[in-house]
């Protein structure tokens, strides 16, 4: 039974990931003084979309139809390598963090080509911006992983977040806080949240992620939204895994609740940030991410010393 626990954790991730967007929206509604959509809104949306037919643009070809499925599978595969609190990941091997980051890159590859497949300038614009920001955010993510690897003495995500347990905090707690902060910035950038992109905007010219989903519909859009939710879960798992209180030695349900709570906290923080901050000007985004890269290099130097 114990061996199956990691698999249950993946099932919890699959089930709870869309909930996080609900949390974000409720927090935003709270700040705005509105009631807001139900927590389970994304589940309703996905369910509804799965029961619809499809409309395709005549300009599009095979890529447009392939990309949502391939992107979802890439993210699903990446999820298997993410440890969940006091339980290990389903799969792990030396260097699996590289595979995880590149799988997220593969999802981006599919999305960008699907956007260009429509021949729409707006989608091309979103794709160009996504390609631009990802250059920085992915490099920052790698530097954070390098810092975590140096601190934990391990070369797999499982080793960094699960096997090392709380020991990673004995190296240098203030520096590790910096790593958590930078990981949170990467989470915001990779998931197209404020201050990098505003998911609530209603002008095609200003969107990044939303504009790339404009022409998708039906089951395709459902897969796309679900993949976005899973990607949020994966990237939130990294800071959550670092902050997880391993000393408490929770049982299975306690662990699941704690981990879910930590990720929900990340989501709530994102919602609060989105209510208080505005989107950065596009030209400022690389500067912000470069600053994050500088922070992670400093952290790496301290942790690897």
């Amino acid at each position: 039974m114990n061996n199956l626990y990691p698999l249950f954790n993946v099932i919890i991730a699959l089930a709870a990931a869309p909930l996080m967007f609900g949390v974000i929206n409720r927090i935003k509604a709270f700040f705005a003084g509105r009631k807001g959509p139900p927590l389970l809104q994304l589940y309703f949306d996905i369910w509804k979309l799965l029961r619809k037919g499809a409309v395709y643009s005549r300009t599009t070809g095979i890529f447009f139809r392939l990309a949502p499925s391939a992107g979802l599978i890439a993210v699903l595969t990446a999820l298997l390598f993410i440890p969940c609190g006091a339980y290990p990941a389903v799969l792990f091997f030396p260097g699996d963090m590289v595979l995880v980051v590149y799988l997220l890159g593969a999802q981006r590859f599919c999305m960008l080509l699907a956007a260009l497949d429509t021949g729409s300038s707006f989608e091309g614009m979103g794709a160009g911006r996504d390609a631009h920001f990802s250059v920085f955010s992915e490099a920052v993510l790698f530097l954070c992983l390098a810092a975590m690897s140096a601190a934990s003495g391990s070369v797999s995500l499982n080793g960094m977040l699960f096997t090392a347990g709380g020991r990673i905090w004995q190296v240098s707690p203030p520096v590790l806080v910096v790593v958590v902060f930078v990981l949170y910035i990467v989470l915001l950038a990779e998931n197209y949240r404020v201050p990098f992109d505003d998911p609530n905007t209603h002008l095609e010219l200003t969107m990044i992620h939303e504009v790339m989903a404009l022409d998708h519909g039906g089951p395709d859009l459902a897969m796309l939204e679900y993949a976005a939710a899973l990607k949020f879960w994966i990237l939130a798992s990294l800071p959550a895994g670092l902050l997880f209180p391993h000393g408490m030695k929770p049982d299975f349900f306690g662990n699941a609740a704690l981990f879910l709570g930590l990720i929900a906290l990340t989501a709530a923080l994102t919602g609060a940030l989105e209510s208080c901050a505005a989107r950065l000007r596009l030209v400022k985004v690389p500067q912000m991410l470069t600053a994050a890269a500088a922070l992670s290099v400093v952290a790496l130097i301290f942790l690897a010393k």
Binding site: M97, V98, V101, G105, D117, G119, S120, G124, A131
Partner: protein, 661 residues
């Protein structure tokens, strides 16, 4: 041995025949292409035997007619590792070239082109086999010359002649440095069995060793084309016919890496500073080349820059290995060099595929400017699928063969971070940062390029483009199949990779490190798993949509239904944000040069091609200085044949007098 001699004979004889068939291009192609393929397949027998068994072979040819000239060949595990992709890609490009040259309008040069193509293949085969200094240099020069003549095969164009000249000058500068190195070695050691470590000055010899190592890196680096020795590459590759650029980019530039590795094996693993230099050169190549690629408006030029980037990745791996070997990081050294070698192997196939597909698209559509193309995916299914597959591999999508090599180099760098106090912290961090930045940039570049060229609507009103030739299609499909196979087959190569690594670092104990195959196996499993799941997801979607309405409409353009194809995003607009961020590295075009019509920007004057400005100025400055200072020797260059013959006579006479003195 018989097979290799037969292959060399096939290449030479068919090439010579083609030279006489200059006015019958179809016959020349029908003779040379199959001969080249047959030769490659014949040579593959012994190569595969060494590749899989690891037992090296050596033999020598005695040539009585040339005064008892003896030529030494060695087929060891390192040469076998380079020869497998070389022979396979040569066979594929010969098949492709058969279709490519068939409908060439300017058919007079076809026989000549086939002669030089076969000479190029023969000389590459010999370069990787030569165990003799003089013979190696001879083949090296043959390789440079035959590829030069292939680059200038469209010599009626000014830009092609210029590209050819720069290529020739660059490769001769490199060869000149190699002559010095080899002369030193020949003076120190015995002549036969050239790559022997006894001849190279040992670690204690100070300046001489440093000088020879730097000259070697310069000479071989000029062929490999990493920054700062890259400047010939983005000119020569687009100028050459596509099958030649595929061969040059896929295999020929790797001869430079081969030379560097041989040199390290002779010197007992090189020195720390060699590793550091290679890491720096690799990171610069990886990042700067991709930034330059963003400004190109020619698909083959972008691919040439991507070759520089990939050579940069290989350099990072090699450099990290050399660095780690001198810091005592055996595992890091092994993983890094294995990654570099695996990437080199895979790059030959996906870059060959990309060049072939780009050439086919260029032939079908009549243009290589991405902003003039678009929407070819529907009319050119084979070419576009081949290009997408290559682009995905080049962007490092984990399901394809561009990923495993990079993965091993990453893993080596991450392992280097664990060795505290060994001095590996800085190089490992640099390699991680460099690899991730260049990887993201190439993802951005290749999605943009392939999306603009093949997706969307056609941007110019061309006739409906068609697949150019079935032979080219066959070659592309075979190369694509090889890429897919290699995505799963990386663990199968681990034995040969370990063999090649132990040929370079004889001191590192390859057996002590846990198996390379075990480290690569999870990637193959992940690929298989993901491919299966994608198929399942597509099937599930099909099932969902089975009884539902699937309708077709227009792309959403803010409710504007009459969008013109010219309003689509172009490569210039797609890459604008990235270019804007990196303007500090590029010179900027003055906006005043763009004249405006009512809606669209009109023709503009001025120079849009942004280059690595400072380096260019530096190089042309040196060239100008040299030209002025050497102009006093102009009187030597009379331009008359008999005077040159007199020079040769005088030189021979002088040598004779010196000898009998």
């Amino acid at each position: 041995m018989v097979f290799i001699a037969a292959a060399l004979l096939l290449f030479l004889l068919s090439g010579l025949c083609a030279l006489f068939l200059n006015n019958r291009p179809a016959t020349a192609a029908a003779l040379c292409a199959p001969a080249c393929i047959a030769g490659c397949l014949a040579a593959l027998f012994p190569v595969f035997a060494v590749f899989f068994s690891g037992q090296e072979m050596s033999f020598d040819l005695l040539w009585p007619a040339a005064g008892g000239l003896r030529v030494f060949f060695t087929l060891d595990r390192l040469s076998a590792f380079f020869l497998v992709p070389m022979l396979l890609l040569s066979a594929l490009t010969a098949l492709y070239g058969w279709g490519y040259l068939r409908r060439e309008r300017n058919s007079e040069s076809c026989g000549r082109q086939w002669f030089f193509f076969n000479m190029l293949v023969a000389s590459m085969l010999s370069v990787f086999l030569a165990a003799d200094g003089l013979f190696f240099l001879f083949c090296w020069e043959m390789m440079a010359l035959s590829s030069f003549f292939l680059v200038v095969s469209r010599d009626e164009e000014e830009s092609v002649r210029r590209a050819g000249f720069i290529y020739l000058a660059a490769s001769h500068a490199g060869t000149a440095a190699l002559f010095v190195v080899f002369a030193f070695l020949a003076a120190a050691g015995n002549s036969g069995g050239f790559w022997n470590s006894a001849a190279f000055p040992g670690p204690g010899t100070g300046v001489l060793r440093v000088l020879l190592l730097s000259l070697g890196i310069f000479g071989f680096g000029m062929k490999a084309g990493f920054i700062p020795f890259h400047f010939w590459l983005p000119r020569a590759h687009p100028a050459a016919p596509s099958h030649v650029s595929a061969l040059m980019s896929g295999v020929m530039i790797k001869a430079g890496i081969y030379g560097i590795l041989r040199m390290f094996s002779v010197t007992g693993g090189g020195e720390v500073w060699c590793g550091a230099a290679l890491i720096i050169a690799g990171i610069c190549s990886g990042i700067l080349a991709m930034l330059s690629a963003l400004n190109r408006r020619d698909t083959k030029s972008v691919l040439a820059y991507s070759s520089i980037e990939n050579i940069g990745i290989i350099c990072m791996g090699t450099g990290l290995a050399v660095y780690a070997a001198s810091c005592g990081g055996t595992l890091v050294c092994l993983l890094a060099l294995s990654g570099a070698l695996l990437h080199l192997f895979n790059h030959a196939f996906f870059k060959g595929l990309l060049f072939m597909a780009a050439g086919a698209a260029g032939k079908s559509c009549g243009s290589r400017d991405p902003d003039a193309l678009g929407g070819c995916a529907k009319t050119l299914p084979v070419t576009s699928s081949a290009f997408f597959l290559g682009a995905a591999a080049a962007s490092g999508v984990p399901l394809l063969n561009g990923f495993p090599g990079k993965f091993l180099i990453y893993l080596a760098a991450f392992c280097g971070l664990q060795l505290k106090g060994s001095g590996l912290l800085l190089p490992s961090t640099a390699v991680i940062a460099g690899l991730s930045l260049s990887g993201c940039l190439s993802l951005a570049c290749f999605t943009g390029l392939s999306g603009i060229v093949f997706l969307g609507k056609p941007r110019s009103r061309l006739d409906r483009p068609e697949e150019y030739s079935a032979l080219m299609g066959t070659a592309m499909i075979s190369a694509a199949a090889a890429c897919l196979f290699l995505a799963f087959a990386a663990p199968l190569l681990s034995f040969s990779i370990c063999g090649a690594v132990s040929a370079v670092f004889a001191s590192t104990d390859t057996a002590s490190a846990p198996g390379l195959a075990d480290r690569l196996a999870p990637l193959s499993c992940a690929s298989a798993w993901a491919f299966a799941l994608i198929a399942a997801a597509l099937a599930a979607k099909r099932l969902l949509l089975r009884r539902r309405k699937v309708s077709f409409g227009e792309t959403w353009n803010c409710a504007y239904a009459a969008a013109d194809a010219r309003m689509q995003y172009t490569s210039a607009s797609f890459f604008y944000p990235l270019r804007r961020t990196f303007t500090f590295f590029n010179s900027r075009r003055s906006p005043a040069a763009v004249s405006k019509t009512i809606f669209f920007p009109g023709e503009y004057e001025g120079n849009d091609s942004r280059r690595i400005g400072a380096f260019r100025t530096f190089l042309s400055g040196i060239a100008a200085k040299l030209e002025v200072s050497l102009s006093c020797l102009r009187w030597l260059q009379q331009g008359r044949l008999h005077i040159y013959i007199m020079y040769i006579m005088a030189a021979l006479l002088a040598l004779l007098l010196w000898k009998i003195r």
